[in-house]
Symmetry: D2
Subunit: 288 residues, 4 copies
């Protein structure tokens, strides 16, 4: 990981694979006296797609940060690259959606407060008032948008208005127990992170711990993924598991699972914050 | 684990839960001067079922091994117990079915040869001749029963005849890539152990690694279970996982998965050999 | 785990192993119409020591809770048992010591607030004021007892006075970065829980992550143990690990390690809270 | 992993870090129409050392394999690089040393026989005749060099002669329970792979499972490392762990540990075979 005081740029690149891609990008940096801090690349040979993440020190870099994009554009055009350029001093805005369960929210707030993450939380949205007290200990607006069968469209309209107001770069569903509409999802492609409390693709949908208990599995898990219009079927960011046995009731699975959920969600958020994620074919390349 | 030289008896018990069950069983042993080596019990509170495994030293036990069953029977009747009594000197007979993949078979043979397990393999059955050479290094009959769409019934009839001939106590499908008929399965209830190369219930059926790769999971696994008439849906004995990432091709998943498969299958076989498994509601209680 | 509304009693027993121990204890319960909820026992054959944990429902139990101890005492005397009797409605008092790091403290507070644990925190003690603000969000006294080389004895005297005042049943050192004196430790035998940020016995003492990085290990860990007069050498309650690689700087090890530390400490606290721990020969038996 | 039929070259490079290194190497490949299959690099910022592994397809590469080294040499000189160039069709020669335990040896032989690894085993050396029968099932010379206190120098001289005769590229100590002399070790720098049956640096030296049992650890492990003159202190290649509890006797630790040992050793061998390992400061960079 890069020390926070370093001023660096990160390029995330994907394009059709061909000869000379790494050379072209690294030449671009070397020719301007940039020092590469991290470089990782991957080729999906079956799909013939090239992926690359390169982070370089801007100390002594020959051009100003605001000029980098224009300077790199011709290379991107030449190779048909999709790319994303970010600077280390940008602090992303992360909206958080919750329902009643506090474990993921507490974990997120603790990481932000302790300075582990460089992120700003402009707003926390919930369909229940329950966690308002938790949030009141921190200095973040907590907005309740109650959701019932009848009021769901209105609630979501209100949520979209909140997003307009608070302008998050991405949204984290920290055990928000409502399905997001396709309309909402399409506004934030690969920018809504969910935590599902099962080892996907096992136990898609409701009550995964109950169903894991019924099936008698020996290991349970949690999965963090980008939200797509398909329920629990978006690109997987991270998964983790924990062992269970016949002594564990559904309540035990829920308790053990919570520790896994918050860990998996935190790792996924970190990958996203650090610009380590590329998405293709509903899968992720994570330059961890 | 009990030292091999100890002469011990093991009782596996299940029955409706009620007061006094542990006291009744332990009194039975204590009254005859038996020393309990291991005792484990479990109550499924939702189902009101009681499970118990108790192993005691037969040194100094007041009655002869052959008299234990008759002495315990009245207690079993009183409490409505299903029970299974086994002695440490019994060496189970384990038939092994394979196809072309050698990793699980090698692992099993290595454990048997090194004395890690006390088990006898009377026969190895395969639908392919490929592993005959591996087996020829050990002193075990290797019988090929080729299976095609048309000859499947005959092949299975031949396999059943082999089982009649070799009289295994249980059967291990060590990556035997054929579906066993319901007729065959019902002859060996909770006595056929399979290894499935996915983290069930994810990726039931064919080509799980291919499908795991397509889904972009971050962890793959393997599952050992008793075979039932429902494909890959029998009681789970053991599961284990391994982390994968975007660099791993399907071939890598297969390679990594093999290490998990052989480990999971070996653990499941050991539980079965040690009489540690009770089955109910298509789930296992494993007194590990 | 037992449902919180159940009124139950738990006996933790250890004594020299001999015939009839389980029968005697379970008879005691059965004769008074107690229904066993959980029973676990263990015999250390090398040391000839017997350990048992039994929890039974007090609904319909023939004698009152306050009479259980006197009724059981003769059995304990007969078999030379050391035992500990607790009731499910007792809520233990847990003092927490911290320094500057917040991750373990936040995790503990989140678990208490969410109702995951039934425990009361009467006081949080620190040698630094830093975490006062975190604690101020909860309703718990935060007392700073600054520690310097010269003031260490006074600081500890003050801490002991605080313990006298707040009467904790046990103490958790949640990354409290000071060594506790033998005098303090002996007042709370097996009642001070520490989290050490290494996989003990590797990297005892200071700066374990730095030393792990220098050694080039591929896995780091954390260890929770009861504090004894020997530094980082007390009975181990729980350990967990996480994989690292050459890309991880010391700062990365610290970051990854924090997630392991808080998880390990939380598990250890839970074992202690649930009366699942027996100690002998500087080791633990944990009836998990 | 690269498909076996691909003809590829792999460069492993280390040198002082400076600007332009990646560009120079990738330019070298791109200018000759090489297609990069895998590229990984790492900078140790504290030590200012640059590491790189690049594998490229030789199909269509402008120069012949035998000309690559001479063509690359000027770049290496310019940047002060240490480098290692290997071709995918080279099959390394791996000598294996064993004592009495068969589990690692069986595992290695099974992987070689099944074609998982592309490696040739010219000879297996042991200080005991016990595993001769295992090896006789394969077609590999098994040479016994008995070691006693008095004959150790002669035994080692014999072993060195065997190495002269069989010319291995590297040596695997597959639970060879003798200490190798510094003289022997220095002949094979970073080319002798050992498996130690503990989670180093815990339990260096003899009887690690016994000592782990005495300490009451909750997790045991195994470590594969390159052998140096310092006992169990060489650069670590791989580590893995498994959970244990109070029920596990020393024999159980040994049994569970064997599964970890063979897995860890196999992974370490694979890293070495695939030219994924760079060593510096007694640590490894593994481009896995």
């Amino acid at each position: 990981m890069t020390a926070p005081e370093t001023r660096s740029a990160t390029l995330l690149i994907s394009c059709p694979d061909r000869r000379g891609l790494v050379a072209a990008v690294t030449e671009f940096i070397a020719a301007r006296s940039g020092n590469i801090l991290h470089l990782d690349q991957h080729v999906d040979a079956d799909e013939n797609v090239f992926f690359m993440r390169v982070e370089w020190d801007l100390n002594g870099f020959a051009i100003e940060p605001e000029a980098v994009d224009a300077a790199f554009a011709p290379i991107a055009t030449q190779f048909g690259m999709t790319y994303d350029l970010r600077f280390s001093w940008n602090i992303p805005r992360m909206a958080v959606f919750v329902s009643k369960e506090s474990h993921c929210l507490y974990d997120i707030l603790a990481r932000v407060q302790s300075g582990e993450w460089r992120v700003h939380i402009p707003v926390i949205v919930s369909n229940h008032p329950d966690l308002g007290e938790v949030v009141s200990k921190f200095d973040i607006p907590y907005v309740v948008t109650p959701v019932t069968k009848d009021t769901k469209p209105q609630a979501e309209a209100q949520q979209m208005a909140l997003m307009e107001q608070y302008q998050p770069d991405f949204i984290v569903l920290a055990r928000y127990m409502q399905i997001i509409s396709a309309d909402f999802v399409t506004r934030y492609p690969n920018r809504i992170i969910n935590i599902h409390h099962s080892f996907l693709p096992a136990f898609i949908g409701a009550k995964p711990y109950q169903r894991a208990h019924e099936r008698g599995v020996k290991i349970i898990g949690a999965t963090s993924h980008y939200v797509t219009a398909d329920l629990d079927a978006g690109p997987i960011l991270e998964q983790e598991v924990i062992r269970v046995n016949h002594r564990d009731s559904v309540a035990d699975l829920i308790r053990k699972g919570k520790d896994v959920e918050k860990l998996v969600l935190a790792r996924a958020i970190r990958y996203h914050l650090d610009n380590r994620v590329l998405v293709y074919n509903n899968k992720t390349v994570i330059f961890a």
